[in-house]
Each structure stands twice: as C-alpha cells, then as structure tokens.
Amino acid sequence: MTDLQQPTRDWATTFDHTDEDYAQHAPEIWDDLRQRCPVAHGEAHGGVWFPSRHDDVSAIANDTERFTSEGVIVSIFKPENLAPMGYAPPITADPPFHAGSRRILLPAFSPKAIEKLEPATRETCNELIDDILASSDDIVDAAVRYTQHIPVRVIARMLGVPPEDGDRFRMFIHRILEKPGTYNGHVEPENTLVYYIDQTLRERATRPPQDDLIGYLMSYRDEDGNPLPDEQIFGNIGLLIIAGIDTTWSAIGASLWHLAQHRDDRRRIIEDPAVVPFAVEELLRFYAPVTMARIAKEDMVIDGAEIKARDWLLLPFPAANRDPEAFEDAGSFVIDRQRNRHLAFGLGIHRCAGSNLARMELRVAIEEWLRRIPEYELADPEGVRWSTGQVRGPRELPVRILQEA
C-alpha cells in the first residue's frame, strides 16, 4: 500500500477520481483511505470530498435534507439553482419534486416489465457472440465487441430509436462521465446529447405516439390532464441514455474480467443454475460500477472532515461495498454469499430506477457468454484498461477464447 501513498501522491489529500492511477488501483486506495482517512479530499474539479466508509456513504445517501442531488456528476461546472428538478430528473431531483417524477418512470422498469425484455436481450447477446465466433480470432476484445453493445441496444429498443444511434450514445457518455469538463468548447453542437434529444423529440412530434418509452413520456398526462413539461421529458430521456449504458456495460465487463481469472467461479455458474442469482449479486457488490455525487447544502463535519455548503461529495458505493465493517470477509469474492445488502444500486429515494433492467442484462450477458464460451482467459492482463471517473469498468478487455461450446 505504501507505493500508493508515497512518493507521488497521498490520496487522502490529493484525491482525484479522474486520474488514471485511481482507475487502475481504486480498490486498494479505498481500503487504505477507509483505515486512515475516512473522508479524503482533493482540490481537483473545484474541490471534492470522498467518504470511503459504508456508514458515511449510507448516511449521506439517505440524507436529502443536508445534501442536494442538483449535481450528481462532479465537474468544475457545478450546477446551481436547478433544484428541485435538475437537468435529468429524477436522479438530479430533490424532494418533494423527486417522488412524482420517479413514479412516472418506475412502471417501465418494474420486474414484470423488464422480464418482457429478456428474450430480446438474450438474442442481442447471441448475435454479438455469433460475430465474435465467426471471426475466427482467438483473441477478442470483450469490452469492444461484446459488453459495450448490450445496454446500448437494449436502451435504444426501449426508447424506440434506431439501434445505430448507440454509437453516438457512447460518445456522449464518454464526454460526460469519463472526462467531465475537459471537452468543453471543442464539441460541434450537432454532436451533443442536447441536440440529439431535441432532434429526436421534434421528429417524434410529427408522428402519432409510438408504443415505447419516448411515446409514453410524450403522451403522459397527470390527474388533471396536463402533459409533462418539455424539460422533464428532455431530462428523462437524457437520464435514460446516460445512466443505463456505461454503468451496465461496466458491470458486465468487470464480471467477465473476474470470470476470466476464476475457473472455479465459471464452472459453478455453468453447472449450478441455483447459484446464479447469488453470483450476480456478488458480482454487483464486488464490482459495483457507480459512484454518485451530492452537493452539501450546509456546513457540517463528517468523520472530522469540515465540509462547507456547496462542496462536492462523491458517494462511492463500490468502496462502501468492500467495507469490512459492513460485510463479512468483505475483501473476498464469495460466489454464493448469503447475506449481501450491497449498495451497487445506491440506497434511499434515489435507488437506481433501472436496477431490475441492469440486473437482467448482467445475468443474461454472463449466462450467454459462458454457455457459448465456457473457457477463456485474459489475453493480456496488463492491457486491461479501467475507466476513469464515476463509472468504473474495463474499457479494453482482450480475452483469449479457449473453448467454444
């Protein structure tokens, strides 16, 4: 651990989640900080606090009085005066506006609604695997050729936009999440998410409502017969594009990375279907991709850290998930863990609205990969590149296929 503290930097005082070193060493950094500096700080991005203990992360996630969700992606451009809706409700919304905006979306993501998407998701996975196996390459990049395409295609289908728009979604996401702020001023307006949504809604307005999520939002009427405000529809669509894609692709990628290195876990999943629900939750605990953020609404002290009103705080669910105070044998991957109250999807009123979808995609992606490619290994362990920013997962994942089913 000393090599992480010395001599180049001390993560407790120069924390930066967008640093390549953080991306490569995050779990070790969390373990180190949890023990000696439970709320780290860094000056980057205008100043950010980083609590690493489960207790603090849970308390902040549940405290909508002292923290606002007006900003959930740390950036030098700190949102202000956007409450209560924010730019992408309900994730950026605060009470009391939050509950109503969330209730509109929840039915589309309920377990029963998501079940209906499972056959098409399975088909998508198999199309991608068909292409991989047809290419006769024994080394393939599983992130580039498999994981990144799955959530893009599922979300495009849910929204009712052409599947080929997915490539543009990945570009928006890379800019917004992986390197926040750094692309400012260099993007053509027609290559922005705002332009994309605007064009999509204009085009949809010329046609009768379709039976998809955009159609649902456009034709939604409240009890008094009022439509949703344009900015709410706009924000909802932005959220669905941003929140549901690299998050899920990161979880699938990290899971395939883990399984590539653990033959026992691969065999267990293939041979014992009853373990699959437990394995999926343990993969979510151990490789939770999402770190959220909040902005403090007032001055306060947390574990000795003197936080000021309007300061950014990161909410690292992945770090909380590995806290030994909260999980037995927290640092070990236990494929059939029986007590697993993990926070991969957050806690409290902002629990990931798409969690049922993400869980289904992760399960199906792993099941189909292992069914068709039961034996594979990392082709270049050093060549695996983990993403920077608030969504953690492998962006390059070269694997060698050892056996096709």
Partner: protein, 64 residues
C-alpha cells in the same frame, strides 16, 4: 415467526421477490408485496430470512 415489512423503508430494490418469490411479489412500481400473513412454516422461514438478510434498506425483519 412472521414477516414485518416497512413500506416506508422499502425502495424497491427487488431483492426479496427475486430470492423468495413464493413469499413476495412486486407492485407495478417495483415495491414489495408480502404474500403470506401470520406464522411462517419452517420452509417459509428460510426464504423469509434470506430476503431479510439481503434487503439493502432493512425494510424486512423476521419477528416472533
């Protein structure tokens, strides 16, 4: 033993009805519905305990 469900704490994580569908269902928004009332059989108790042990919000408890 019986299931105590706190609707105020439930945030619709869906762990209970995934782990013990014989005891829990989900409403249209994904919040839990407890399907059994009263005393649990031994077999039901195992499923109920599993659901409670995996609820991130501590919305489920098993009570005498």
């Amino acid at each position: 033993m019986r299931i105590a469900y706190d609707r105020e704490k439930c945030q619709g994580h869906g762990r209970c009805y995934a782990l013990a569908p014989e005891l829990f269902d989900a409403d249209d928004e994904g919040y839990a519905i407890v399907l059994v009332s009263g005393e649990l059989t031994d077999e039901q108790l195992a499923g109920a305990q599993l659901a409670a042990d995996n609820c991130p919000e501590y919305a489920l408890t098993i009570e005498p």
